[in-house]
């Protein structure tokens, strides 16, 4: 079965239009109001209102990095580029800002609703990928811990393959990742070794 698009609830959602006063802002505002969003237009600086916004439409023609209170590509909401000039430098800049989709200027009487849906979808995909990547990175960083845990388990008279199987079983029993199970084993064995040596030094 094909995956169905999740339709976000847009009534009462907040949009910020980062654009100087212009017919584009009016056309965009009319469509947003018809859909049921609240919006404000700001230029050149984004106010505090922006951080709570659900969508940001930003001018790709005149925009610059310092307008945004976050690093390029780190916007905490979906970003929609308003593109007038299709010069590659401006497209590049809009992409660096993390544009989730685009709307061409002049904005006519349609296009905003689909831009909202596509931007929301792309933003959520981007965010869930980022979480997944950081999780995978963290697990990669723990490779050495896994090797140490297997080695420690193997010192108890098992082969490496048996030790790894045991590690996996422990991870399953504890309902944690292999990396977390490895951390626990390494910590526990270090503790055992420590405890055997010098109790006093640990207390100080």
């Amino acid at each position: 079965m094909k995956k169905r698009l999740h339709i976000p609830s847009l009534g009462g959602a907040r949009a910020v239009i980062l654009h100087r006063p212009h017919a584009t802002v009016q056309a965009l505002g009319r469509q947003l109001a018809a859909i049921g969003l609240e919006f404000s237009d700001q230029w050149p600086d984004l106010s505090a209102y922006t951080l709570g916004a659900d969508f940001v439409f930003f001018d790709a023609d005149m925009g610059y990095d310092a307008q945004f209170p976050w690093d390029p590509g780190e916007a905490p909401m979906p970003m929609i580029a308003l593109i007038g000039s299709e010069a590659p430098g401006r497209v590049e800049w809009a992409l660096a800002q993390g544009a989730d989709t685009q709307l061409h200027k002049p904005v006519g009487d349609s296009g905003v609703y689909s831009a909202l849906l596509i931007a929301r979808h792309a933003f959520e995909a981007r965010r869930s990928l980022a979480v997944e990547i950081s999780d995978l990175r963290a697990r990669l960083d723990e490779r050495q811990t896994v090797v140490r845990a297997v080695t420690l388990l193997a010192t108890r008279g098992q082969s490496e393959a048996q030790a790894y199987a045991q590690l996996r079983q422990l991870a399953m029993a504890w309902q944690v990742t292999i990396e977390q199970a490895a951390q626990r084993i390494v910590a526990r064995m270090a503790e055992e070794n420590d405890g055997g040596r010098d109790d006093k030094s640990r207390r100080t």
Binding site: L10, R30, A33, A34, S110
Partner: protein, 367 residues
């Protein structure tokens, strides 16, 4: 001395869905005649008629012809959403306005269109919730193979799924196609609680006749246990359908004999399509009368007037606040079963307050 103002009339008077567009045509022409007789108005409307014959490729050129060759800036017309979407770019270029008097699937709010019939929060949503309580929550969805059928069924699926119901099947036919046997077989096999019919014209007639026949063979498939629900079926198609229409349930802003909308004295309309086209022309006349500049004014300025607001046209969405009626065909006419007062349109289904039925799915208390 009345000012003469040309007005475009773009309705198909022959072809697969001509019965529906003929109803709109009648409403628009009756309104023009009454406007021209109304001593309270200082204008005379002159119709400029074009007939696209239910052929999708004729709408855009004929609409462009009206805007190019005559002084008309307002066109009343179009039946299918497909044809409406075809003419919008031309309206945009010429600064024209389409008055669209047909129920449609929503998700549009063009600068150049005024919508005077219902969208899903005014037809499909109340109809489904009403049906859930009476028949159950498992549905079979049918539709003509274009945006109306697709989007109506997508919305229906969302609402049904959110209400923990089930969609047992979803089938489409090209406009004008009458090969409905397969659809009927699937309905017979799946035994839903109700059917949502978003077929149009001759496909719809073929389907309803075959379904009536199915009901004669198996009493489960009768209106008491498994009715057909529709958001675009009106009186204008009852004669064509005859016996096959009995028991059909439809939602709309008007059914014959009802009063309240359109707000016009001594007016009996044949159907909501006729009423909606009449309303469109009469409202437009009110906006143009007594103000010579209005003829060349942009639509945004016209709709910003208190008169437009009084008529129920929302300057934000260009849609009309309409009563919601649910009616069932009995003895060849619609018998109104439920009625809610005028409700503002929510073309993008984003404002939950704009649903007359209390139990809008997202507000259901989770047990």
């Amino acid at each position: 001395m009345r000012r003469r103002i040309e007005i475009g009339i773009l309705y198909s008077r022959q072809g697969s869905y001509a019965l529906m567009s003929e109803a709109c045509y009648t409403g628009a022409m009756n309104a023009i005649a009454q406007v021209n007789d109304d001593p309270a108005l200082d204008i005379e409307l002159v119709p400029v008629e074009r007939d696209p014959k239910c052929s999708i490729d004729l709408y855009q050129p004929l609409c462009a012809e009206i805007l190019r060759d005559t002084s008309a800036r307002h066109v009343v017309g179009c039946m299918t959403s497909w044809s409406r979407k075809e003419v919008i770019p031309g309206l945009e270029r010429a600064g024209g306005t389409l008055w669209y008097a047909t129920p449609y699937e929503g998700f549009e709010a063009s600068d150049h269109v005024v919508y005077t019939h219902a969208c899903p929060n005014q037809h499909l949503l109340p109809l489904l919730h009403w049906a859930f309580d009476r028949y159950g929550r498992s549905a079979f969805l049918t539709g003509s193979n274009y945006i109306w059928g697709w989007e109506m069924n997508r919305v229906a699926r969302d609402v049904i799924t959110a209400a923990k119901g089930e969609v047992l099947g979803e089938r489409y036919l090209p406009i004008g196609d009458t090969a409905i046997d397969h659809m009927i077989d699937e309905i017979r096999a799946s035994r839903p609680n109700f059917i949502v019919n978003s077929l149009i014209g001759s496909s719809s007639y073929a389907f309803l006749r075959a379904y009536a026949e199915l009901g004669r063979q198996d009493s489960y498939f009768r209106a008491d246990t498994c009715p057909v629900l529709s958001c675009n079926l009106t009186e204008c198609e009852l004669e064509e359908l005859g016996e096959a229409a009995e028991g059909l349930i439809s939602a709309g802003p008007y059914f014959r004999g009802q009063v309240g909308w359109p707000d016009h004295p001594k007016q009996d309309f044949g159907s909501s399509l006729e009423a909606s086209a009449f309303f469109a022309v009469y409202t437009l006349a009110g906006l143009l009368s007594r103000s010579p500049q209005a003829e060349t004014a942009g639509l945004a300025d016209l709709l910003a007037s208190s008169e437009a607001a009084k008529a129920g046209i929302d300057a934000e969405t260009h849609h009309t606040a309409l009563p919601v009626l649910i009616a069932q065909v009995e003895g060849g006419k619609f018998d109104v079963l439920e009625k809610w007062p005028a409700l503002a349109a929510d073309p993008y289904l984003s404002r939950r307050s704009r649903v007359p039925y209390a139990r809008w799915p997202n507000l259901t208390v989770v047990k």
